[in-house]
Homo-oligomer: 348 residues x 4
Amino acid sequence: MMINFKIDYADGAHPKILEKLLTTNADQTPGYGEDDYCQQAQAAIQSYLGSTPCEIHFLVGGTQTNLTFISHALKPYEAVLSAQTGHIMTNEVGSIEATGHKIIPLPATDGKVTLHALHTFFKQPQTIHMVKPKLLYLSNPTELGTLYSKQELEELSKFCRQHHLYLYVDGARLGSGLVAPSNTLTLEDYARLTDAFYIGGTKNGALFGEALVLIHPELAQDFRLNMKQKGALLAKGRLLGLQFLTLFQDALFFEIAHLANQRANELRQGLLHLGISFWTSTQTNQLFPILPNHLLPVLSERFSFTIWEPYDEHHSVVRLVTSYATSKDDIIQFLETLNTLYKKDALN
Amino acid sequence: MMINFKIDYADGAHPKILEKLLTTNADQTPGYGEDDYCQQAQAAIQSYLGSTPCEIHFLVGGTQTNLTFISHALKPYEAVLSAQTGHIMTNEVGSIEATGHKIIPLPATDGKVTLHALHTFFKQPQTIHMVKPKLLYLSNPTELGTLYSKQELEELSKFCRQHHLYLYVDGARLGSGLVAPSNTLTLEDYARLTDAFYIGGTKNGALFGEALVLIHPELAQDFRLNMKQKGALLAKGRLLGLQFLTLFQDALFFEIAHLANQRANELRQGLLHLGISFWTSTQTNQLFPILPNHLLPVLSERFSFTIWEPYDEHHSVVRLVTSYATSKDDIIQFLETLNTLYKKDALN
Amino acid sequence: MMINFKIDYADGAHPKILEKLLTTNADQTPGYGEDDYCQQAQAAIQSYLGSTPCEIHFLVGGTQTNLTFISHALKPYEAVLSAQTGHIMTNEVGSIEATGHKIIPLPATDGKVTLHALHTFFKQPQTIHMVKPKLLYLSNPTELGTLYSKQELEELSKFCRQHHLYLYVDGARLGSGLVAPSNTLTLEDYARLTDAFYIGGTKNGALFGEALVLIHPELAQDFRLNMKQKGALLAKGRLLGLQFLTLFQDALFFEIAHLANQRANELRQGLLHLGISFWTSTQTNQLFPILPNHLLPVLSERFSFTIWEPYDEHHSVVRLVTSYATSKDDIIQFLETLNTLYKKDALN
Amino acid sequence: MMINFKIDYADGAHPKILEKLLTTNADQTPGYGEDDYCQQAQAAIQSYLGSTPCEIHFLVGGTQTNLTFISHALKPYEAVLSAQTGHIMTNEVGSIEATGHKIIPLPATDGKVTLHALHTFFKQPQTIHMVKPKLLYLSNPTELGTLYSKQELEELSKFCRQHHLYLYVDGARLGSGLVAPSNTLTLEDYARLTDAFYIGGTKNGALFGEALVLIHPELAQDFRLNMKQKGALLAKGRLLGLQFLTLFQDALFFEIAHLANQRANELRQGLLHLGISFWTSTQTNQLFPILPNHLLPVLSERFSFTIWEPYDEHHSVVRLVTSYATSKDDIIQFLETLNTLYKKDALN
């Protein structure tokens, strides 16, 4: 059987989540997230957010969360600013544009939007022929596994407030970011510095689910109407409440993320040991080693992974992803296989 | 605790579904419905559809399925025809319009679109100032619990083919319809007579999920791109495959629906026995008794249900819904409470 | 040659408008309505609006004005209330829905929305499954040539303010309404009672053009960005300024409307004299006589008009429209032809 | 008074166009482009298109034409490819995205899309997470005044057909391109090589108006319904017919374009004579000289023009546009003023 380094959502869910669904299965609750479990889950999350009053909504997936939130925040002629490598820019089949809004791509450094790129963009005179930028979209960790530091997020937040931009963070892998060794940001910081962000469950041990935190009061009004309209209001909303309650009442969320990072770290160390270099320097659960093209077909026979982009004529950037469900043995097998292939190479 | 007659999705899921999720939880599969479970579930459903080649896609909820399918089927200036009581018309926050398309309401009889209403509509001359009707949306069972007969569906299908309309059936409660005593339609008939329809899981024992069957070849092209764009491509798509596999491999789907109808029938018999009359005559899991307004507050203390609309000055149409999870005891308690209230009334 | 009673925009433009274009043709002005002529035209119109501060924008046509304004005013989940006979409901190819918004049809009396219909609608409990009504769309004169009185508009305005609805009046034929004998409304009243309305030029002697008056301050923000986005910002915007300047600096607008109504009145008197009855009672430039079906083909040989809808088995409602360009002789010929046909009928 | 080098639509219209409107003003015609003048204008244009059967529609402006056409051509998940400097990408307030479609920016050379850029783009594997490119948008002349050669257009056309892309050319300044000294393309070539293109009137002497030529049969179906929906069906459609008839029956269109190019050439020669260099090399009516920043405020006192973008610390790229209405004297004054400023500079 294939060993998965392609996605961090290849299994069902963390066993504690399934257990919770089992023990509550016969309960009868109202639909659409109006149940007690959702309320408890919201309270559990709010306890991490400090004193900032927030509204928390549970949605099923990341693309859905992005499109429902962004379409809610913008007027027809308003646009999103995003790194050109942003997930909404490249990997969501134009879902934001399908709600009527342009995404303006900004040059990115290691997947990150920089203050410099924003300053350069805002130097252009705004005319009545141009969309009005109104929202800055970041992912943290980024699509390249890198992280914004607390200082970077504070600077971007300040810039946004000065320029009347909403700041929104896509946290599909927020867990992995929050427990990364170099991380300096807390959930409380996100609540303080952004106007909205989401905490990803799908890629952190849930069956599915993202918790969207709305901070700016303008953004909360009638949000559930927009959720329903976009097909994002789950009938059995309790399923989301139950999962996030399980994840946040005993910090399971962080434990799961920590496991993923730990496996990634073991893999990184092993690859470095083999003399392999990396495209971006990451401490989260995504690694981007540079591998020789001629080894990829052999590796693909036993391991699934993503060929990200060409590096040079003979090498490619490859993405390897770990999760709490990755085993130590998966890591060992990958490293041993690669080691064997390298040795063979050396003999030829 | 409240006894639920308000929704048919108040519990978790049928135990066999949870069991299936548990036993497969550790399996590692590809994402986005490209796994074996989805394929097996598609085969299991296809085995009910006869020789018509279909494409089957799994989506999370009904509103999502309707908007993803309809936006896929129509050009910008094309519109949907629907009963004025149709779910997309009244209860989905304008989700179809949000994808750019008008819904033209047709007068409905017992929640059903009639050939007569269609003929009347098509008598109007079409001008370049009017949307072009291109798709007929039906629900079966309807929002009022009524059923189209085989003859009715055949006539509507013929009309649609003559007028170049796609015929689409919203089957949120298709299970309850298929096993209703008076039902004359099979899944094979749906595949033969419609261009697309969906088989509802959410309201028939699943945690969530709808199986969309695309029959007309024009409608299948690139459908998954539109799913992804609308936020309707579940990352852990296997969850849908596993559920529909469980529902269809041993006919559990029909068994669940049968239980819901059986409870509804017991409730109907009891209400008739109390001399209560009904707004629509249904054999599915939705009942619409006409109850005196002054009893509703008392009933609401122990039972949840929907006050559908005023009937006359002193009475309201009430909707009672059952599911496989409704117990015999729930029925008995409701009938006894009502009986007691009626007796008290008689004494005053 | 055919004599036109079908449309009130069958000619080029009032000669004074063409003359203005000729005399200013060589002037070089900035584009997009940033020229002096537009400013002068805005001032000329503002002088009729009293002390209410307004923003005035010039657009090319009515459908364009409706869709640009309405898409500007609403959030994604908000909807328009309109008479079921409203122009945006029936005759603009779903242009409002194409911008993402549902139109909720209200039953209409003589083409008019009534307080009663609004009260009935708002009695329904609002749920998270329903669009949120946010804007009331009226046409005055209506599509059936009828007029709202001052009292009616005041009541509707009050209702809208109480229910947080914007009130918007489509004034495609506002001129004809303003000078109708029974009219009790002034432009100042419109500015006082509505949140936005437009003054139609196309159907009142202009080559093209509608002047949109934005009153509610929320509605004015960034409006020109939305105009540009919808393709509604004319490059040579001065053409609109020049036309509305000509129409409003010496009250030509009212004179043109008066001529149209006068011709309509002559036609009405003549038809009444022939014993013909009317479907709606109008004092504007649209008449809806009820004519025998068997005469329509003969009449159609010399006159163009619209067959509106069947009246009974043997009669149809016909729409006859006049404009300032309709001649007395056109009226006489129509009446004589009809008289001759009636006499022939009487002989058979 | 300011001398205009900012836009090529600063005047009213070519006198012959106004004359035509005057002489036909009293004619009564059907609305919405169903009149004889439109038919004659279509025939006049078709006579330039060779044997390819086309459908020709008249719209009011360029943004409107682009959005109406592109929204007609694409399914929800399909996208446009455009030079990153394309007009729809930068200067139309996200009008294409507002109809639901992503524009994928391609790196541009002198404002032109290259085969190389297309090949590079299509090397990326297409996944279900990415929009499907379906239409290549070009402008000719480009936004930078440059021209595609016949060979380039043939190669791009071939590429598009191989990759199932529609090829669409925005011809806002097509006239200037067609009569440029280096031009090798005829209208017949456009009809042979593209799937649709438009012939710009607004920037070539008309009051307003663009003639959209639909060549691929799939694109023509129901196009007028989409026009009406987008507010792009002019009530007095004859105004467009009359203008294009005037432009094409005696080749006035080409004469007007020739005048604009001639003035641009005089201006170019004068600037070269002053030793000024250019950002792009153009033979059409747009020039992009590189001017010293410190002279721009002084120049701006008498001349209007566009500061396009910074060139280096001390210079800017400036855009100068000419039209048939630019006089020889305008050119002389600009050159003399600049000469004087340069001389002063030399003295300091």
